[in-house]
């Protein structure tokens, strides 16, 4: 589909795990989540953001700027040729702040700051402002495919040769209000659970999460490249195990790959018994001879969670190790060359991403 090579030459990630100091996963043995939601471990922002400016910024903007700065430093790039982000729900905190005061104050005497920071493109705009970057700047907001849409555009930018380096990010934040509302919609679990057992869950609902993961994509490989992106496919449709199998088969055919070329299948298992059957169906019927892993017990469920999966995959491919805590079955393969990420959002949005070591 997109023949041009796309290398990941830099990473920056803020997540519920300690991921912002050096790119790697700390050992975690017990991931208890008392409130059933997963907040990011946040860095001390003043390293990159002036505290006076930071005070007016919501968490999502700070997490976006900080992770993008980490990523650019990691890649040794000062100015990207494009900034492309995906966010499912955007700047929730500022949106809620503005609506709350609008309702409480009967539409009078409102502070405009939360309103001007409420648009979905605030994060990518603030990064551009921070860098004084006049380049292409786009934000996608399409449910569980927000990050994938940003990724497709990034690959297109590299292919068109309009950019040599693209700063790509996936960002979402959780707020108390959004958590309560989405809980009423039945998306979150009612019971407290140990997150390491997410793959054994038999109850409905998932665990809410958030995160900010950034990537510096380039058409040129260098000594510090983490991985490369080989292919991407997105589907907006309800699938069952049978139709999902057909989609996977078509995707592999299009990419001239066999199932046994995949060394690790990273699945978006989120503990929701209603939706996890698609993952298990795929694991047992199609990838029964492949090593499988999962990641949402580390970051929680959110619209751009695949950006965390892509961060994790990049780290695993570079280090050539798969942490014990993500493994779903025992490993036979000795090398780690190709990873398939399969994720779906409530069986309406599905995505496949193939990444390789470089």
């Amino acid at each position: 589909m997109l023949k041009k090579e796309a290398y990941i030459n830099g990473l920056g990630c803020i997540s519920p795990q300690q991921t912002f100091e050096g790119n790697g996963l700390p050992d975690v043995s017990d991931l208890l989540c008392p409130d059933n939601f997963f907040k990011c471990l946040e860095p001390v922002y003043k390293k990159y953001i002036d505290p006076i400016i930071a005070r007016r910024m919501s968490r999502i903007v700070k997490m976006g700027i900080y992770a993008s700065k980490l990523c650019l430093e990691d890649a040794g790039v000062e100015m990207p040729d494009a900034i492309i982000t995906g966010t499912g729900l955007g700047c929730l905190d500022d949106t809620e702040k503005f609506i709350t005061s609008m309702i409480r104050n009967d539409e009078k005497m409102l502070n405009p700051t939360p309103f001007i920071q409420s648009t979905h493109n605030t994060i990518s705009a603030q990064i551009a402002l921070f860098l004084k970057c006049h380049a292409y700047n786009i934000t996608y907001a399409h449910r569980g495919l927000s990050f994938e849409s940003a990724l497709l555009d990034s690959l297109l930018m590299l292919k068109e040769q309009s950019s040599e380096s693209v700063l790509l990010g996936g960002v979402d934040e959780i707020t108390n209000i959004s958590f309560q509302i989405i809980k009423r919609l039945g998306h979150w679990k009612n019971d407290n659970c140990n997150l390491l057992n997410i793959s054994e869950s038999v109850t409905k609902g998932s665990i809410a999460g958030e995160g900010s993961s950034f990537f510096l994509l380039s058409d040129k490989k260098n000594n510090s490249s983490y991985s490369k992106i080989v292919s991407l496919e997105t589907i907006v449709n309800q699938l069952n195990v049978e139709s999902l199998t057909k989609e996977v088969s078509a995707f592999f055919k299009k990419n001239n790959l066999n199932y046994n070329d995949v060394d690790l299948v990273l699945l978006g298992v989120n503990g929701d018994s209603k939706y996890d059957q698609l993952y298990y169906g795929l694991k047992n019927k199609v990838f029964c001879n492949n090593s499988c892993a999962y990641f949402k017990h580390l970051c929680g469920e959110y619209h751009t969670a695949t950006s965390f999966a892509m961060w994790l995959s990049s780290v695993m491919l570079k280090n050539q190790t798969v942490p014990e805590m993500v493994k779903m079955n025992s490993f036979s393969s000795t090398q780690l060359k190709t990873i398939l990420i399969y994720n779906h959002y409530r069986n309406i949005n599905h995505s496949f991403i193939i990444m390789q070591a470089c």
């Binding site: 503005f98 539409e107 405009p112 648009t119 493109n121 551009a128 006049h134 380049a135 786009i138 509302i181």
Partner: protein, 401 residues
Amino acid sequence: MFNKVCVTGIGMVSAIGNNVQEALKSILLQKSGLGFTSYLDTIYKDEFPVGEIKLSNIELAESIGIGSSQSYTRTALLGLIAAKEAVENAVITSATDCRTGLISATSVGGMDRSEIFLKDFFADQRKGKLRNIIGHDCGDSTEKIAKYFHIKDYITTISTACSSSANAIMLGARLIKNNLLDRVVVGGTDALTVFTINGFNSLMVLDREPCRPFDETRNGINLGEGAAYLVLESERIAQQHNKKVLCEVKGYGNSCDAFHQTASSPEGKGAGLAMKKALEVAQLSTDEISYINAHGTGTPNNDLSEGNAIANVFGSRIPMFSSTKPFTGHTLGASGAIEAVLSVLSIRNNLAYPNLNFATPMKELGIVPLTKLTDTISIKNVLSNSFGFGGNNTSLVFSAC
């Protein structure tokens, strides 16, 4: 080699008409769609004029054969109406006869219903009808439109404030040029909300009078609502299916002003870069542009910045330019697509639109917009500007075939 991006269908709903023909008629009669709201529950309903579509949600739903409007946001209903007109105009009988996509844009998504939910929810967290919040996210209206037309091959949503749907058109054109799609429905939709009225009012940029873009006395925006979509097809598919090609999308450019979250730089740096990039992609020189449909919101800041950018890019030969926002109001995420449809109509009918309400040239700017409807000059290439919060600037070039 086939690499033209052909426009084969257009559809639009706005304060100046429920379809393209009605909108064109309003423009020819120089009839503005601005007035006071009939549907919004806001304390400002008799204070700020808006460009509202005078149909209730039930009437909107009925017009496209949707029985129960309750699970649709106004944003989704407006989007469906405009997309339906575009798809019919392009005489598409099947969305599966070639690789067909949908790129839709919105700035506030389903906020029109979320704000109703939140009023009850804030009083008591157990209250509020859930059907009023499930369509909050930007992807909701897009997926409803995709489902209605059985579009499957690529579906996404762009949200970059007031440049959103111009960016959707740009992405659609790129996907066709790169042979990832054969056909793509592109555009955007936004409904009027109490949230946006209060937001822009808190910034003190809403005018109590009809807006006067590029006028010395300009005093802000009138908000509007609407939706517009274009059907883009590859040259190959357009020829194969014997399509009537309305015009081409020839150029596009996006640049970030990187000056301030909401204010534009005085010299319009990002705006200038976006226009230059669009001309470069279109391989056109500045004197080949017949008409510019400006962003022209009517705020002191935008019009000065955009005016300076136009003057910088075009130098001594400024094309005819005007803002059509005094007709439609500023429809936020939909404005780029609405003005794209107007740009297509400009080319098809050799029309350049009047900038209503203009009387006094701006002191700081040596250029003035077109004030009379012009139908005697051949329109070959139209440049359309859309600028948004976050300094997101997009310019598109539409060209006669």
